[in-house]
């Protein structure tokens, strides 16, 4: 069923990403697009967890931050090659996510929200206080991403890397959703006991999707550390986690393309709305509430349901 629409969606995304830099007037806009791309990659992963499997995480910025700081620290303090640092960060985050998910995911709902909230806050506190290695609130500079003799520099070059990475992430996510693994994830969202009695090890799948979404966040974080001139703890704090969840919920739960739209919209909002910085919690809260009340399924699923109804 989904295979033709999946390729159509991927194709449309590829065309959009290819055309976008041609119409962006200057590098300031390209920078915003790159930032939206980073958020979109994280959100596609987070949507597997929240939208498809029906679990919640209020700490994904922590995983993003852990990946980012692993890269920054290993590269600046220990001279690691960026790719090795990225992989080490992903491994660390994967193991951490696994270790906390295993006991917590056996429980339901609020426990997971509280636990992930706690993890996110702890990571954020450590980053802020361990100033000797993390740079504390001032941040740390990871330098450019290099691979072999190649050095990744400038908004436009980064744009293409992130665009390709986003396409690959979307491709993998849509593959997964429409596979036995993805159906198991969606099934345990629908009815855990219903999934169990036909052989789905629901705990295992919840752990799996939690780890996968955390590792995606970590990889994006590692790359972000090299993209940004100065990595600061705000990228790993509680508000960033809430921002990520809001992107997923607003764009559309259980919709990979919804996650993209949500990420793009909420990345652009602060650029248009100069008061955003001062009122961020209120604005995010307002968007979240508005979404819940007026379109609980999120923007993209609501629009697509509306269009199918009009057509038939």
């Amino acid at each position: 069923m989904a295979s033709t629409s999946r390729w159509a969606g991927l194709g449309a995304l590829a065309v959009f990403l290819a055309v976008l830099p041609q119409v962006l007037p200057n590098n300031y806009y390209v920078d915003v697009a790159v930032l939206a791309g980073f958020n979109a990659i994280v959100c596609v992963g987070l949507n597997l967890l929240i939208g498809y499997a029906g679990q919640i995480s209020l700490g994904h910025a922590g995983f993003f931050g852990l990946g980012a700081y692993s890269s920054a620290i290993l590269v600046t303090h220990y001279g690691w090659p960026p790719l090795a640092a990225l992989l080490a960060g992903a491994l660390l985050v994967g193991l951490l996510a696994f270790a906390i998910a295993r006991p917590i995911l056996k429980l339901k709902g609020h426990y997971l929200a509280m636990a992930t909230l706690g993890i996110g806050i702890i990571i954020s506190i450590i980053i802020n206080t361990e100033a000797q290695i993390t740079g504390g609130p001032d941040g740390i500079a990871a330098g450019n991403f290099t691979l072999g003799g190649f050095e990744l520099k400038g908004e436009r070059a980064w744009y293409w890397v992130i665009a390709v990475l986003l396409l690959v992430t979307v491709w993998l996510a849509t593959n997964l959703v429409d596979s036995p693994v993805g159906r198991a994830l969606r099934a345990l969202h629908g009815s855990e006991v219903g999934a169990e009695v036909v052989g789905v090890d629901t705990t295992r799948y919840k752990v799996l999707v939690f780890v996968v979404s955390a590792v995606i966040a970590s990889i994006a974080g590692s790359l972000f550390a090299h993209y940004t001139s100065q990595l600061t703890p705000t990228k790993a704090d509680f508000f960033k986690s809430i921002e990520l969840v809001t992107m997923v919920v607003f764009g559309g739960m259980a919709s990979t393309f919804g996650a993209l739209v949500g990420a793009a919209f909420l990345t652009m909002l602060p650029q248009v709305l100069t008061v955003f910085e001062d009122y961020e919690p209120i604005i995010l809260g307002g968007i979240m509430m508005g979404t819940m009340i007026f379109m609980p399924r999120g923007l993209v699923p609501t629009i697509s349901a509306f269009l199918t109804r009009r057509r038939s």
């Binding site: 069923m1 295979s3 993998l172 593959n175 997964l176 429409d178 596979s179 036995p180 693994v181 993805g182 159906r183 198991a184 969606r186 099934a187 969202h189 629908g190 009815s191 006991v193 219903g194 999934a195 169990e196 009695v197 036909v198 052989g199 789905v200 090890d201 629901t202 799996l208 259980a254």
Partner: protein, 255 residues
């Protein structure tokens, strides 16, 4: 051959003895019905057998193996599946996908091949789709092959749960009130489906209030009352058992 053995089984909920000192066996290849008034402990018994609850006392053996402490998904691997009195449909998925999830154990479900959608995964899904469509026809859901679960009527969802359970290829299928809320015609159709399932070699345990259905298709009936065994035997034996008639079937309920 004994497929299921229940011995001195008990389940307590804070002082309420939902099931107590219950022993019985189920032979493979039969339709075994469990009847009893509301609150008799039938659903609790199903939850104990399928690993959703852990017994307070006693033991259950399935296919010669002790099920104590096993999770429902493990028991499904051993060949047990069920439907629910209160629907446990995946309303976020299509009808077809609901049945495909039932086929989970028989598919290549490794993470990396799924992530990359290797040809084997696509082929497996294609086959699962065919099998699921076949099963949907089998339970009389041919009209809903393309439907979303959330748009289906209650009676169809009852059948969808049966199709999903069958997709896991169980040896033992437990049906908790499959005809509840259905009209007479629909009940007769479910009747036929259950008989066809039994003929295909699946052992069926049926909880049902529809006495006409129970008396018509059961090989063996177990009567529960307040969590205890009241009587047991063939439909004729149970029908003519004065204790059962007095306690449960009453005057007019028996056909």
């Amino acid at each position: 051959m004994t497929l299921l053995l229940v011995e001195q089984l008990g389940k307590e909920f804070g002082g309420v003895h939902a099931v107590s000192d219950l022993s019985f066996t189920i032979k493979s290849g039969t339709i075994h019905s469990i009847i009893g008034p509301n609150g008799a402990g039938k659903t609790t018994l199903f939850n104990l057998i399928t690993g959703i609850y852990t017994p307070s006392s006693g033991r259950i053996c399935f296919d010669g193996k002790e099920i104590a402490g096993r999770a429902p998904f493990e028991l499904a691997q051993w060949g047990m599946s069920r439907t629910f009195q209160n629907l446990q449909i995946f309303f976020n998925m299509s009808a077809m996908e609901n049945v495909m999830v039932g086929h989970h154990l028989h598919l290549d479900r490794r993470f990396l091949p799924s992530l990359l959608r290797l040809p084997g995964i696509a082929r497996g899904d294609e086959k699962a789709r065919d099998i699921s469509a076949e099963l949907m026809r089998f339970v009389g859901l041919e009209a809903y092959v393309k439907a979303e679960a959330q748009s289906m009527p209650y009676g169809a969802l009852k059948r969808l749960e049966i199709a999903r359970a069958l997709a896991s290829k169980p040896k033992l299928l437990l049906l908790d009130e499959p005809a509840a809320g259905l009209n007479a015609t629909e009940s007769r159709e479910i009747d036929e489906v259950i008989e066809k399932v039994a003929q295909s070699g699946v052992t069926v345990v049926l909880v049902e209030h529809d006495m006409k259905m129970v008396m018509g298709i059961s090989d063996h009936i177990l009567v529960l009352d307040y969590g205890r065994k009241l009587a047991e035997g063939t439909p004729d034996e149970v029908r003519n058992n004065p204790v059962v008639v007095a306690a449960y079937l009453g005057g007019g309920a028996a056909p």
